[in-house]
């Protein structure tokens, strides 16, 4: 019996995802006339207010990020890093699962930024196509959630005051994946 080794694809792009890349990606599907539905998820860097971790100059001994000196500061950008080898292996597994759950899906394209992405720019794209909308819709929702939960990608939120905080995907159930929450 023939065994097929799933092809590992590189999902990572340096910096923000250009909206024109998305437009070109859509255009490339024009030759696939068996497709009747595209579903696209785009993640954009949000300028959340975060407690600053700047240590006041007049209190050098004060612990950064303490409750009493936490002035909010807006996220200017996120600097993404990843455990690349593990992320690409996990992505290959998620991809195979998505194609086995939605066998009618024609294609699935995933891109995630590494490096600095400014607030307002795109950092994440999941694009599924299928003959009909349901498979494309369900697959995108599933793949987005799985990527957020299982890909070792880390985000340093750089604040307006030049301090930073580490982003955590709070909507993801990390019980069992991490030690204490």
């Amino acid at each position: 019996m023939e065994t097929r080794t799933p092809k590992q694809r590189d999902i990572f792009v340096e910096g923000a995802i250009d909206p024109s890349f998305l437009a070109e990606s859509i255009a490339k599907h024009a030759t696939r006339t068996d497709i009747g539905a595209h579903e696209i998820f785009l993640g954009q860097v949000r300028a959340d207010l975060q407690p600053s971790t700047v240590i006041p100059a007049d209190h050098p001994g004060q612990r950064a990020g303490g409750e009493d000196n936490a002035q909010p500061s807006a996220v200017q950008a996120i600097e993404y890093t990843a455990y690349r080898d593990m992320a690409l292996e996990q992505m290959t597994v998620i991809r195979e699962e998505a194609f086995s759950r939605w066998p009618s899906m024609t294609c699935l394209h995933v891109h995630h930024s590494l490096g600095v992405v400014a607030a307002g720019q795109l950092c994440f794209m999941v694009f599924a196509s299928a003959p009909h909308r349901r498979a494309a819709r369900e697959a995108v929702a599933y793949v987005v959630d799985r990527i957020k939960a299982d890909l070792p990608i880390f985000g340093k939120e750089i604040l307006a005051d030049s301090s930073h905080v580490w982003k955590v995907n709070r909507s993801v159930d990390t019980v069992g994946r991490h030690t204490d929450r």
Partner: protein, 74 residues
């Protein structure tokens, strides 16, 4: 063994990897806590050969070990 460190944990350690000798992931956690200030207050996972392990597993020394703070993709 070379232990890979990422994100907040790499920042706390001031390095992206550390050489350590541990015979299990439980022993590794104890050693990491003694080498990285404040690690005991952080949530983190250990990946062995690019798979997150939840329970204590023995380590032979040839595995690829990584210490992973909470994920933030998307």
């Amino acid at each position: 063994m070379n232990v890979l460190l990422f994100g907040l944990i790499a920042e706390k350690a001031g390095a992206h990897s550390m050489v350590m000798e541990a015979s299990s992931t439980a022993e590794l956690r104890v050693m990491l806590a003694s080498r990285i200030n404040g690690l005991d207050k952080l949530s983190y996972a250990i990946a062995v050969d690019r798979q997150v392990v939840k329970d204590d597993v023995p380590l032979m020394g040839a595995e690829e070990i990584a210490v992973l703070p909470p994920f933030a993709g998307g």
